[in-house]
Amino acid sequence: MSNHACFAQALLSDESICPAGLCSSNGADPASRFAVYRNNVQGSLINALAEAYPVVAQLVGQTFFNAMARLYVQDFPPHSPLLNDYGQDLADFIQGFAPAAALPYLADMARLERLRVEAYHAADAEPLPPARLLAAMNQPDRLGQLCLRLHPSLRTLHSAFAVVSLWAAHQSDAAWPAFDLHQGQHALVLRNALDVEVIAVDLGAMTFIDALRNHWPLEVAAAYALDAQASFDLGQCLGLLLAHGALIDLQPHQKA
């Protein structure tokens, strides 16, 4: 192994290993000095994860989180100097992490927090002026064939747990409103101007939004939504998307 390969391997291991060929001018055990680098590497990566997953950390406590993150860091160190991207698959790691099995919603909370980081740094786009949507609505014969483009930051998550309510409950010190943790929720995550928002929507709206993301025209997206939820309200859903700056453009459907 090359010098850096040995050094890197020891940095990501537990306390015992120190690479060969090191020395200290005062004759101190090089292991006591190498430990500074190991602490820096593992500590800084654990901190990066804690910053990206603050509610996951709150749910399990800092000690548990750090221990779990240390195992993740050792097994899955970053493969890019862009630390904003680090920990993309922490949710999958949590899903298979037996000591966290008592919190079955933890992996979905990690997925939600990952979407927030992605939305925060996603590309910019100006929201659609409401007048353009209104003008389109005044041409009912063409309306169904319109494709609505969504903000590049917009992401969705389907969870079997009330992750949006649980996330919201951790955003302030106020008492939690009552909610059923086992009531599944559909989360819409997006950046509105400079702020990342997390919104719970119903199944119809989620189906509609996912269909738009897959470039289906309005009438097809609405049909899917109605199929998923008979009470789906198209006007209300478009109003929600407009209000949160989620729509950025509309154009006629391009037939493949």
């Binding site: 010098n3 292991a31 006591s32 910019d124």
Partner: protein, 296 residues
């Protein structure tokens, strides 16, 4: 290519390089974006970590764009791994060029260190053995970077905690040789200098004396944490988490006496205090810069 041609290329690169104003500056932290825009503090420049801005959009670009319109900018890389055993990451070079094109910083700097090996990024500035093969590799990487960016860079002296048995050169000789061969400048981190000298029982005065101070293009000042090694000796850790130490201020003053006023950054990356507190430290540096200016 003959050596005269190489020399000319370097000369051209240097001739068009802008520089930071010889004033005190601050590291720009995201928690201070709004405060900076509201207060518009009177400082010489801001410095940002390049990697934090290698994102598509959002608040980081929004605020940096607004702040760049009014301030000089130093772009400071922490992830290129110039001392790495493998080739430089071409994708990372491309991202750097894009950022530089977008924000037109007055200075670009990186570290005399390595941080990646193979596919793995270790997120720390790791120490290098000072031998001839490493010297060649570092010079090659700096040549490649400077040619790619079409400008010279500043190389920061490291804070280190251990040494390598296979080192054959002093750190200062190594740095002087890199600067001479590659034509890059020196980002003199006075805290790193102090930390390394204490950790390796070197005399900071002698270290300073041995550095190519004519090449300094920026100075960094920061605080350190204090630990002990297995012998109970002081082991200083460059954690950027404390105010600048008294000893470091004293060394800084000596540097200014030697080279005159020079762009000086107050660096704080951990336990970041209020903007007002950091501005107070920048004002301390500015006062010393002013003294250096008025001296004959």
């Amino acid at each position: 290519m003959n050596s005269a041609l190489i020399h000319n290329t370097r000369h051209d690169i240097q001739a068009c390089a802008p520089s930071l104003p010889p004033r005190a500056g601050l590291g720009l932290k995201s928690e201070h974006f709004k405060d900076v825009l509201e207060q518009r503090p009177d400082i010489g420049f801001f410095e940002v970590h390049a990697e934090n801005y290698m994102v598509a959009g959002g608040p980081f670009h929004h605020y940096l764009g607004l702040i760049r319109a009014d301030y000089s900018l130093s772009l400071h890389g922490v992830g290129l791994s110039i001392g790495g055993e493998g080739p430089l990451d071409s994708e990372h070079l491309r991202r750097l060029a894009v950022l530089i094109e977008r924000y037109q910083p007055q200075s670009f700097s990186e570290h005399l260190a390595w941080s990646s090996h193979g596919p793995v990024f270790l997120n720390d500035l790791l120490p290098l053995a000072y031998d001839v093969p490493t010297l060649q590799r570092v010079c090659d990487h700096i040549d490649q970077l400077q040619n790619h960016l079409g400008r010279t860079m500043l190389l920061e002296n490291p804070a280190t905690y251990l040494q390598f048995q296979r080192s054959t050169l002093d750190e200062t000789d190594f740095i002087r040789e890199v600067i001479q061969r590659s034509g890059c400048g020196l980002l003199l981190d006075v805290n790193n200098l102090y930390v390394s000298c204490i950790n390796h029982q070197r005399d900071p005065q002698a270290y300073l004396q041995a550095l190519p101070l004519h090449a300094v293009g920026e100075i960094h000042l920061a605080g350190f944490a204090e630990d002990q090694d297995s012998l109970g000796d002081r082991l200083l850790i460059d954690d950027h988490g404390a105010p600048v130490d008294r000893e470091v201020w004293a060394l800084y003053q000596q540097v200014l006496e030697r080279i005159g006023p020079m762009a000086t950054l107050i660096e704080r990356d951990n336990q970041v205090p209020s903007l007002t507190t950091l501005l107070g430290e920048a004002a301390q540096a500015q006062a010393l810069l002013h003294q250096a200016q008025v001296q004959p």
